[in-house]
Subunit: 145 residues, 2 copies
């Protein structure tokens, strides 16, 4: 396992934990370029009452703002859950170099939907997946009670 990738995914997990504490579906994301985190975000769909406020969407917007350009060429996005169709579409438009996600989402994930991200973008998955899934399990178990 790449220690650098593990470090950044841990940062995304820290964002997901902030989401859990705020009673949001705990998904976190960071965007990295040149060894530097330029955006951190967690899901805010409840607080903003906005279905588009996924961690990835906010991370893309924040990273583009930081870079002062809409394309995230050279960037890697680390996210704790497989992106949904909306987020995969946004990631495709952003043309970033790599997407690394932790846990898979067999119901809402982009892979089962047959959606592809930009051909330039490398996809990796499974890194710290158990840790990411554990946070989601805590959230949904609490919700069901």
């Amino acid at each position: 396992m790449d220690l650098v990738d593990q470090h950044y995914m841990q940062q995304a997990l820290n964002e997901a934990k902030k989401g859990l504490e705020a009673d949001e579906v705990p998904v976190g994301a960071v965007v990295v370029v040149g060894g530097r985190i330029i955006a951190r975000a967690h899901n805010l769909t409840e607080r903003l009452r906005d279905v588009t406020a996924h961690a990835e969407m906010q991370a893309i917007t924040a990273a583009a703002d930081f870079l002062n350009g809409k394309y995230l060429i050279g960037c890697t996005l680390y996210v704790t859950l497989e992106p949904c169709v909306m987020c995969a579409g946004a990631l495709s438009w952003s043309q970033l170099d790599r997407v690394v996600f932790a846990a898979s989402d067999s119901k809402r994930g982009f892979l089962q939907a047959g959606v592809s991200i930009h051909p330039k973008t490398k996809i990796q998955s499974g890194l710290l997946a158990n840790e990411a899934k554990a946070l989601l399990d805590i959230f949904f178990t609490t919700k069901r009670k």
Copy 2:
């Protein structure tokens, strides 16, 4: 052709024209519920330097803000161009009643990508498609010069 639908699509076209005047890809959208327009938006990807700033995304966020709730149940979104994968994913999360789009997008549209919107959501297309396409043609012809 339904005159009510035509009226609202004309409003979406007016938004698209504002986009054209602002040197944005001219796509406009409105969200309607109970005979009232609750959100108007046009593409702002250049001004905001943000690939997620499509007309539909902004219209969804604005409509949810107006309704003070994240689901757009009972709403219809009129948009001048077939939604992309990102926007179709967002529309699916929003659970709105109907999506009416004007021009088709054979390259970037959600239909060719095999993406489906929420099963509750009715889809209609082709309304004022020539008018919508004419605006896009003006934009891209100017860009190529």
